[in-house]
Symmetry: C2
Subunit: 434 residues, 2 copies
């Protein structure tokens, strides 16, 4: 059987890892795929470094177009990132009738519909297992492993940087800024950490998972995103006392009125498996109507784990190449003509439980007034505790039962306007994930 | 696109569940598969009950051969179990050129090589996701999701009955027999629980996982199997004190000399995710050289979770039907001509850490004698504690470092022959799963 020829766009961390895995496991991979998979060309801005890695076995070029237009190449692997040149290269590769493997979540979350439609027209595959949760085969699990199910919801720790920071904040009682600085020093966080800590990276990934789960177009612009930069150590400690841990979760849920698509710090019960996912690890919980809850855990980033997903995609594309294009696994799990535009709900329509914390003047009647405002909004209180937090000052912490976020926010606005409230009201969401 | 026609052999718990899932999620499934998947015939020994479930939408027969020889049927789903008639039906279905979906781990663990070879010759698929860990797509994960990796080892909780019993024994401090009786009353254990509690069911599943991971033929007869019926509450309590939990694990590992294939009660560190898999849930930990450790968790049995896997296989077969048979995903993950007959190691060659417990006469020199015997065998002691366990009697518990099982067993034989040893020496394996 003839060799599958691969062109690699980008030879950074993941590109280098892909090269390494394909080389060192070449025999194992060929035994599985039935053919050898060989990188024949590489594009990079640092040809000298590339030469050290790949030697004379592959062409090296500075121009990605040399790769996507090379008639010898069967599959183009895009590992440049970003949504400018990466997009041009992928569109041109598709135009040239080549299959594409990419780890580019930002690009797909924003331009996936266009890319998948172009691929469908040309009868080529665009595989992107590495775009979500690194080496964990979560896209395959949803797209192929759980096809029997009506997926009800997905909740995932899909950003290792923030999970590392939250684990450290809890374990060592340190404030966010200090842990972030340390994470940057250790290489767990980038010099500009905005995409990670503000939840944008997680939202890119969640957008893709939602499409795969519910058969909807990708629509990153409608995701509701909150990061962890505003999170205070105090709330982590209170959560712990209440039996919860705080995790940055991406949550997408099917409701009667539409799809929830949201990333935010979330209180989850301490005993839940997902609450025990520590450090830079990732885990995704998927609830199907037949299978019940399933969980997928592993390294969500890094050179070799991400390369593991890229190479698995290469094997998949190799195995499926001869299948009738109409019968291959569809890009977004559902057949293109069966994708439905179910609305994404605005944040105010989200249903969740809530944790509230506020500082108040410590005098009679305060608690009664706050409880009255919540009751007037139809929100019921699960549990509450009060601590002295300064001279004549107390912290009140509420765990509220399930409510509509719009109602909770209106109640918070009323509470904040009370003269006895001496801080902003901290509001975090609580999910029991049952 | 024309409908895929399915014949169902057996309409018990999983057969009924398969019918239900295919009916209630028919639209969702068709949106994914691109075609409708319809059960057109059912074989069962209870036609009246079947009529209640399927109404007039499918033929009902008492004879499975009516199904496997029905020219209208594209895929035969075997949910009878056992390795007599099920084997005949599957072989005949293959002979008739039909694809097969089965949940029958006992059959595949014993006769898989023959069945897969017959399927290869006829160019049909035999899918068996439901045979291991119920609804968790673990076969897909190993066979397709981790193809980039040289798999190093797999360790799994793949029998829900025994995990339920162990969870209850630990939580409530009850002896094995009492918990087993309760599990039977609750329907978690069968009237004849031998296959579950003696580890045979787990070994069937592990045999399949080992083949998928390492590209070796299925060879159940070489598995080393120990169940939980001899496990004493005392050891669960000691393990807890040492920071471990006891789980019935199926472990398969690649070593320089061959493959370890073993099922036995195992001490695992309390903080490990797999130690926190409770009740009847299943979880499989897979260590790949590139991806690192990954874990897959969910319901390993039951009507709808198992049906979830059966139906996912139906969608897979539907999607792959048009692919060139040589390019479909191979049954055992590796191409048939690339399967290698790496030897399975005998139990004496297993490398593990060990927990030993013995009752001894409480007098000077006893500990020194036991320690000397271990040292003579080249086995080093990790930690030890001693408790009074009766008048002039003490329990000694050892955690040993990594050793060859044959050496440990010889040392135990020498220890048992000492006059001061007043009980059998309990030996359990310890795995840190790092």
């Amino acid at each position: 059987m003839n060799t599958i020829k691969v062109g690699l766009l980008g030879l950074g961390v993941v590109g280098g890892g892909t090269w390494k895995v394909l080389s060192r496991n070449a025999e194992e991979i060929a035994r599985r795929a039935g053919r050898r998979i060989e990188v024949v060309a590489v594009s990079t801005l640092d040809p000298d470094r590339a030469r050290e890695l790949v030697g004379d076995t592959a062409l090296i070029t500075r121009d990605g177009m040399d790769i996507v237009r090379n008639p010898e190449i069967d599959i183009v692997v895009e590992l440049i990132g970003g949504d400018t040149v990466a997009r041009q290269f992928i569109m041109e590769a598709i135009e040239q009738g080549k299959h594409v493997v990419t780890a580019n979540k930002a690009l797909l979350a924003k331009h996936g519909n266009e890319i998948f439609e172009a691929a469908r027209r040309k009868g080529v595959m665009v595989a992107f297992e590495a775009a979500v949760a690194g080496g964990i085969p979560i896209i395959k699990a949803i797209r192929e492993g759980l096809t029997a199910n009506r997926i009800e919801w997905i909740a995932g720790i899909i950003n290792g940087t923030t999970n590392f920071i939250l684990s450290e904040m809890r374990d060592r009682g340190l404030p966010f800024e200090q842990v972030l600085a340390e994470a940057q020093r250790l290489g767990y966080a980038e010099a500009d950490p905005t995409f990670d800590i503000e939840g944008v990276d997680a939202a890119h990934k969640l957008t893709l998972l939602a499409s795969l789960a519910f058969g909807i177009p990708v629509q990153f612009d409608k995701a509701h995103i909150e990061g962890i930069s505003g999170l205070e150590s105090e709330d982590i400690a209170h959560a712990e006392r209440l039996g919860y841990r705080i995790k940055l979760l991406g949550i997408t849920r099917r409701t009667e009125n539409g799809i929830e698509l949201r990333v935010h710090p979330t209180l989850v019960p301490k005993g839940h498996l997902i609450a025990n996912v520590e450090g830079a690890m990732n885990a995704v919980l998927v609830k199907g109507d037949a299978v019940g809850p399933t969980l997928y855990y592993g390294q969500g980033a890094g050179e070799l784990p991400t390369a593991s997903a890229v190479v698995a995609d290469l094997v998949d594309v190799t195995r499926l190449e001869t299948a009738d294009p109409l019968h291959r696994v569809p890009h977004l799990a559902f057949q293109p003509d069966a994708v439905k535009d179910i609305p994404i709900l605005p944040a105010s329509e989200i249903q969740s439980s809530y944790y509230l914390r506020m500082r108040v003047a410590d005098r009679p009647g305060v608690l009664a007034d706050v409880a009255r405002i919540l009751a007037d909004a139809g929100i019921s209180i699960g549990s509450m505790f009060q601590d002295p937090s300064g001279p004549n000052q107390a912290s009140i912490i509420f765990l509220l039962h399930q409510a509509r976020e719009g109602a909770v926010d209106q109640a918070i606005e009323r509470i904040s306007a009370q003269p006895f409230v001496q801080s902003k009201v901290t509001r975090l969401r609580v999910e029991n994930l049952q």
